[in-house]
Symmetry: C2
């Protein structure tokens, strides 16, 4: 999100974009029940969000990833509820920030990587980016959730390397 | 290390320091056998280093921390051996960087936090900092290794908060 906004603010300082498990206007597609649940039962709802952000295969083969995410975010002094609350009320917070109408202004080579099983920033949210950023390519990765770089580091590194090589920057 | 160097380069831009599991001149105290082992058997030696960087209690109660560290650093494209090799040959790399004779120039309130069981940056390396930075306080934390902020997040956050409050910054 910060990278996309940076493209709008300083297009001359961008060579290319790797967009990973992202989206814009995410609050629009969040069901009202989910917003209510976050308000009324923050811990359980956030825990469910994390659970849905990791693929079934990762949960089976590398349970430590969800464990660490949980034990990091579920510590109130690491991630206080007021930080979440601020992010929902801030017009530039993670749920309200919306550059849908300006995606066409991003003119640099862009790859969008999305995990097929990501329920936090689903494929549809990433597809919207790739469909509206001129020339952007969408890669949807099977058996991966929100954390491609952790769930499949070797494949992630090689996808990024391949994209950078394709830019012929040198 | 970056923060300590920053104190020397831009003392006017520093209010105070939280130094966590650190040291300077670390290469001096590294046994020759360890340096050789890193050269000849990088993966096994690095894996042993990570093992020694996590406390026994953490390994027992929260095995996911060592698992994630391992699965991150043991992926060659995440942490290629040439990065390690560069860090050992660079005079400002993590092993050679040495400001022992200049620690007295750090004049801002400083707390040094060290895990009692940390074998990567042992208590002695942290004590050297606290002993030579004027007014610095050393806190040694029981049952913790190199990763205080992950191994005991609540206690870590509260130690940092207490230190910041003690500065009377507002």
């Amino acid at each position: 999100m910060i990278a996309m906004q940076f493209n709008l603010d300083h297009p001359d300082r961008v060579l290319a974009n790797v967009i990973l498990s992202s989206g814009t206007g995410l609050g629009e597609t969040m069901p009202k029940e989910a917003a209510e649940a976050f308000k009324n039962n923050f811990e359980a709802t956030f825990s469910a969000l994390l659970e849905g952000a990791v693929s079934a295969r990762t949960k089976r083969e590398r349970p430590e990833i969800l464990e660490v995410m949980r034990s990091h975010f579920m510590v109130p002094s690491n991630f206080p509820k007021y930080v979440f609350d601020s992010s929902t009320s801030d017009p530039n917070g993670v749920f309200n920030w919306n550059i849908k109408s300006r995606l066409g202004e991003i003119r640099k080579p862009t790859i969008v990587l999305a995990g097929e099983e990501d329920q936090a920033t689903p494929v549809a949210a990433n597809r919207l980016l790739a469909d509206n950023i001129p020339g952007a390519k969408l890669h949807v990765i099977k058996d991966v959730g929100h954390f491609y770089q952790l769930e499949r580091p070797t494949e992630f590194n090689s996808a990024v390397k391949q994209f950078i090589t394709s830019l012929n920057l040198s």
